[in-house]
């Protein structure tokens, strides 16, 4: 517990030192340049399919905008869920230093969502809807706590792969690069906090779990990773691009060797953390 208190204090100081006003950071043109990339071409979900190859460069760039909107949309839905979980944990069963940091965490997530929403609504007129459906569970508080934080880590680690690399991709429009950079700057702290608290919770709970229970937990984590990845392959996007068979294209893109290799590469850091901690015993086959 001492470690998490010290980390929370340090991260709070960093959040204060890096506090900024995102509403003044970016220039928002009335219309976006149609001749620009908004998502790294090689990360576009159908990259490598014949459907992608047959698009004109102009259409590939249009698709990159839709993929950026999908990426920001899935971030909005993920962060909404994250904020509900974080606010539930404010001033509850943890030292005050943790609550102090959770305030920064929630505040930063709120600002991210606002930027993502502005981009989606301004340039596509919509946020893609979520398919996430939550059902009540009967988990104990500690177990629910662990599963909440491990999902936070997985979600943010995968997102950060994109943020980090796209902020560095000079082919992308400045606004897309800037939003990715801004998000990455905060996520570094969130991931650090998430990793530490998740490992602490896991190490506390694991001795109490039977082998069967541990297997169930690991299966749940694997299923969450797969579900999270599938949000990046959105038939709504393919439909907006007027592809004839949006769901078939989803299946084709998902099963492609190239996209499997991409997911393995993008998830490597996250999977290593989960494997090293014993939260997984095998690399996800997604």
């Amino acid at each position: 517990m001492e470690r998490i208190v010290n980390l929370a204090e340090k991260l709070s100081e960093l959040s204060i030192a890096n506090y900024n006003n995102p509403y003044l950071l970016f220039e928002w043109p009335e219309n976006l340049d149609e001749d620009a990339w908004y998502f790294t071409p090689e990360y576009i979900s159908i990259y490598g399919t014949s459907e992608f190859e047959q698009l004109t460069t102009a259409d590939q760039k249009r698709l990159s905008l839709l993929e950026a909107v999908n990426f920001f949309s899935l971030n909005i839905h993920g962060e909404k869920s994250l904020m509900r979980g974080l606010t539930k944990r404010l001033y509850h069963n943890r030292p005050k230093e943790v609550s102090d940091y959770l305030h920064h965490f929630v505040g930063e997530e709120n600002k991210h969502m606002s930027l993502f929403g502005k981009f989606c609504n301004r340039y596509l007129g919509k946020v893609y809807p979520s398919r996430a459906y939550e059902i009540p569970n009967e988990l104990g508080e500690a177990e629910e706590d662990f599963l909440f934080f491990v999902k936070v880590v997985i979600f943010e680690e995968l997102v950060d792969f994109y943020n980090l690399n796209m902020s560095d991709d000079e082919r992308l429009h400045d606004l897309a690069r800037g939003i990715n950079q801004y998000h990455h700057n905060d996520e570094v702290r969130h991931i650090s906090f998430g990793r530490t608290i998740t490992r602490n919770l896991f190490n506390q709970l694991k001795p109490e779990w039977s082998e069967e229970k541990l297997f169930q937990i690991q299966a749940y984590i694997l299923a969450y990773i797969e579900s999270t990845w599938k949000e990046y392959y959105n038939p709504y996007v393919y439909n907006d691009m007027k592809f004839e068979n949006a769901y078939a294209l989803f299946e084709t893109a998902w099963a492609l060797d190239g996209t499997r290799a991409h997911r393995a590469k993008a998830g490597r850091k996250c999977y290593k953390y989960l494997l090293d901690a014993g939260m997984l015993i095998q690399e996800p086959e997604v």
Binding site: P129, R131, Y220, E226, S227, K230, P235, Y236, N245, F250
Partner: protein, 95 residues
């Protein structure tokens, strides 16, 4: 039209494949798939996408009623009963 029998068979096959813990032959339409941990709650998003594929239209998750995913029976009744379905999965394309 894809028949009720075909839709139920498709659902049993999908759930069995995703579960890895239950054979499709042993899965009943009345089996409580979440309660019995045949699939987990995090797989619902994936299931919803599959339902969209079978139906050929998007699912608005905000309109779903509690218990809709309890069994294959409840899934069929909620998503397919009185809903026109396609004669061929390959023809189902629009979100």
């Amino acid at each position: 039209m894809k028949s009720e029998v075909e839709i139920r068979q498709s659902l049993r096959q999908w759930i069995s494949t995703k579960s890895k813990t239950v054979d499709v032959e042993k899965l009943q339409d009345s089996t409580r798939i979440l309660e019995e941990r045949i699939i987990t709650s995090v797989q619902l998003m994936d299931l919803i996408m599959y339902l969209e594929f079978l139906m050929g239209k998007p699912v608005d998750v905000t309109q779903l009623k509690p218990g809709v995913f309890n069994t294959i029976n409840s899934i069929y009744e909620s998503f397919f009963e009185n809903t026109p379905t396609s004669s061929s999965v390959s023809e189902v394309v629009k979100c």
